[in-house]
């Protein structure tokens, strides 16, 4: 089965899309035409530059609407999220730990590298949690260690070993020039170099992190916007249970 999907403005399959962008050319009819041609090259058959604005002598800004025949086959879309439909509530998570693992789960987390955006990792780990979802510190069957901001990868791993962690949580918010990719890659390489990659479940998170990206970089899972402690707990518990053959 195929299920062709195109953007929708006001009529099915009209392929309507709004764009805005800046070109390094002066404003004027020629810039406008350059903008229109650019749209055509992107595959818009019907391209309208509805606004053109000088930003400085050599730069101009365009707002555009286009219609395209480009489409995706919705039936072929393959997504893999860290957690499925079923997510444990806090109580269910503790219940599952007692039942499947029979011991506390130790989780260490930090905002690594030079990243100081702790609000995200705090949202997952701190007692108080986020949006009325308690953080891991409040989970009776979890021992949670939040190391805070700007923790070097090496130090995080040392600490995880010291407290006998089951899982390590890495938060990365700054993504400019792909600094998060560098930092996450370094983390995994360090673990591998020390022969510890299989020792821990490792999860990454952040507003621009997807499960896909994290897995590509060698993590067990990745979590983006809208994550709550429940999601991470669910993933860790199920993965631990799986390892113990008790999924």
């Amino acid at each position: 089965m195929t299920h062709i999907v195109r953007p929708y403005g006001d009529t099915l399959n009209d392929g309507a899309v709004q764009l805005s962008f800046t070109l390094p050319v002066p404003v004027g009819p020629r810039g406008r035409e350059a903008a229109r041609l650019f749209m055509e090259k992107l595959g818009f058959r019907h391209a309208e530059i509805v606004h053109a604005q000088a930003l400085s002598e050599g730069f101009s800004f365009y707002v555009a609407y286009g219609r395209t025949e480009v489409s995706v086959d919705y039936d072929e879309i393959h997504i893999e999220e860290a957690t499925g439909e079923k997510v444990y509530s806090m109580n269910e998570a503790c219940e599952a730990i007692r039942e499947k693992l029979g011991r506390k789960v130790v989780i260490v987390g930090a905002c690594t590298g030079f990243d100081a955006h702790t609000v995200g990792i705090d949202a997952i780990m701190n007692m108080k949690g986020y949006n009325h979802h308690y953080g891991l510190e409040r989970y009776q069957e979890v021992e949670a260690h939040n190391l805070g901001a700007q923790v070097p990868n090496e130090k995080l791993i040392d600490y995880a070993l010291k407290v006998g962690a089951d899982a390590i949580l890495v938060s990365q918010i700054v993504t400019q020039k792909d600094v998060h990719v560098q930092n996450m890659t370094e983390f995994i390489e360090l673990l591998q170099a020390r022969g510890l990659r299989e020792r821990f479940i490792v999860c990454a998170g952040g507003s621009r992190i997807s499960n896909k990206l994290a897995v590509e970089l060698g993590f067990d899972a990745g979590f983006g916007q809208g994550t709550y402690a429940e999601h991470v707990a669910t993933f860790i518990i199920d993965r631990l249970a799986e390892r113990q053959g008790r999924a």
Binding site: Y8, G9, D10, T11, E48, I49, V50, H51, V63
Partner: protein, 517 residues
């Protein structure tokens, strides 16, 4: 809301009095005339519907048969045909569509006609009262679930089935009112097309079937969202009363319905419009429909700073025309708009002054406040902020019906996402500064207060100049919106008829009685 502007009550009263004096001679003209569409509307109220093989609607077939005898009232011939043929309404409609003539049957016993008409009026009254109570019950049930002001969006894809998708999505996103904009050409048609339609430009045909389809679709959302969704269309153009009739029957809740819009902006003959608007408003009044007037249109051609008084003057006239057509103040969605050039320093203060002024002068009317349109550009980002300031003023001054500005106003009729963004904008702004109006007083004698006083004063003077020449002459001279409309020109004049002595219209009689006119 307590008054903030210290407007002089005697000047407001003076303006109202002038409006009364201006409207009164026009009213005498109206009372003496009928039109083809008033007659067709009467037939529609009686249940006349359907179309012939060429798509000519049955109400038009009847009226076309009658020619000059229309002056006696078209219903007489139709009811006579019912009595003569013994058909029910559906049966007779079908026969007329197939060519049956009602104009050449011998005229029956007046009492029999009266009796049959009474049944028809009864059926109509029951249906429309049913609609009213349905609406009132839902409004009572979900009473505090609508936004204040009501958030009003338009759909205008041209295709009723796409419109339904868009309307339902908007309602789920929080819209309180959905207006189906009519296709560009419809206001100049002297008939109402029949059936569901899928082809329109910049809007979708207003047909009774389209009304029904959209009403049913929105009713689904009403119960799901626990919020009544008002359906709106246009009782405007050459078929004002017919559309009002269809709306009453299909439970529309609001109607664009101005006393002069057609004259000025569609070049419809003034006699014709004056007569049509009266009957359409009587129907709306009875059906519990809220009308929306079109003062915002003045500002699409005139400057909003200079010509603010034309808006207020027109509101007074619309109010007067509405009152004598039986509309209660809560049904008067008098129009005004946020249409000043956004580059004007302190333009916001004037908009605020005027919105507050309208609120204080028409305290019971659910004012219909229109968003920026003329100064919207392809810069959708700036446009979205213009709309935010408009939302702000509307909430701060307690407007009743809030038309949502679209960031794409200068580009296309709204996409589904445009409407969402507009609703999101309004909901955020209005919730975030919900009670600001209550918390704030204007500096006495300051810019805001002065502006309102000035506009009121200019309005009184303008109304005085109209009163001096008479409304029809004033329109001929271009006093409104710089548009000159000679009284013997314009579309639809040939559809005007003096009422004959024996003019018979039991629906009009019934409405007159019910509305206490």
């Amino acid at each position: 809301m307590e008054p903030k502007l210290g407007l002089p009550p005697e000047r407001i009263a003076r303006a109202r009095k002038l409006a009364e004096q201006i409207v009164s001679p026009v009213q005498r003209f109206i009372d003496a005339h009928t039109t083809v569409t008033v007659e067709r509307a009467t037939l529609r109220l009686a249940g006349v519907d359907g179309a012939d093989a060429d798509g000519v609607p049955v109400p038009n077939l009847v009226v076309d048969q009658l020619k000059d005898r229309l002056e006696e009232g078209a219903l007489k011939y139709y009811v006579n045909a019912l009595v003569r043929t013994g058909e029910d309404v559906q049966g007779l409609n079908r026969r007329i569509a197939e060519g049956f003539r009602v104009d050449n049957l011998p005229m029956g016993d007046p009492e029999a006609l009266e009796a049959r008409a009474k049944q028809l009026v009864g059926a109509f009254a029951a249906r429309v009262k049913g609609n009213r109570s349905h609406r009132e019950a839902k409004l009572a049930k979900y009473h505090d679930r609508n936004h204040k002001p009501l958030l009003y969006v338009i759909v205008a894809t041209g295709n009723i089935h796409e419109d339904v998708k868009q309307a339902k999505a908007a309602a789920e996103q929080g819209a309180d009112v959905v207006a189906v904009i009519r296709t560009t050409a419809q206001s100049l048609l002297d008939y109402v097309p029949y059936g569901a339609t899928t082809e329109g430009f910049g809007g979708t045909y207003a047909t009774q079937e389209n009304f029904r389809i959209m009403r049913a679709a929105l009713d689904e959302v009403v119960d799901k969202q626990q919020r009544y969704i008002y359906l709106t269309n246009y009782a405007s153009g050459l078929c004002m009363p017919e559309i009002a009739a269809m709306g009453a029957l299909e439970r529309l809740d609001m109607m664009l319905n101005d006393s002069m819009y057609g004259i000025l902006f569609r070049d419809i003959n003034m006699y014709r419009t004056f007569v049509d608007q009266k009957f359409s408003r009587m129907i709306n009044a009875f059906a519990g429909v809220i009308i929306n007037t079109g003062e915002d249109n003045y500002l699409t051609t005139s400057d909003a700073v200079e010509k603010a008084y034309t808006v207020l003057a027109s509101q007074f006239l619309n109010e007067r025309f509405a009152t004598i057509a039986g509309l209660a103040p809560w049904q008067m969605g008098l129009g005004h708009a946020f249409e000043m050039d956004p580059t004007i320093p302190n333009g916001f203060l004037r908009e605020l002054a005027q919105a507050q002024m309208a609120r204080e002068i028409f305290p019971e009317a659910p004012l219909k406040y229109m968003p920026p349109t003329k100064f919207m550009t392809g810069d959708i980002f700036r446009g979205h902020v213009q709309d935010a300031l408009f939302n702000f003023v509307s909430q701060m001054t307690g407007q009743g019906i809030h038309l949502l500005g679209m960031l794409t106003e200068a580009i296309h009729t709204p996409f589904m996402q445009d409407r969402f963004l507009a609703l999101e904008n309004a909901k955020y702004v209005m919730n975030n500064m919900a009670d600001l109006g209550e918390e704030i007083a204007f500096k006495p004698g300051g810019r805001i207060v002065q502006r309102a006083h000035q506009v009121l004063e200019e309005t009184v003077q303008f109304l005085e100049s109209i009163e001096a020449v008479g409304l029809m002459d004033a329109i001929e001279q271009g006093l409104f919106a710089d548009i000159k409309r000679p009284r013997d020109m314009g579309k639809g004049l040939d559809g005007l008829r003096p009422k004959a002595a024996g003019y018979w219209n039991p629906f009009e009689q019934y409405l007159t009685r019910e509305l206490g006119l």
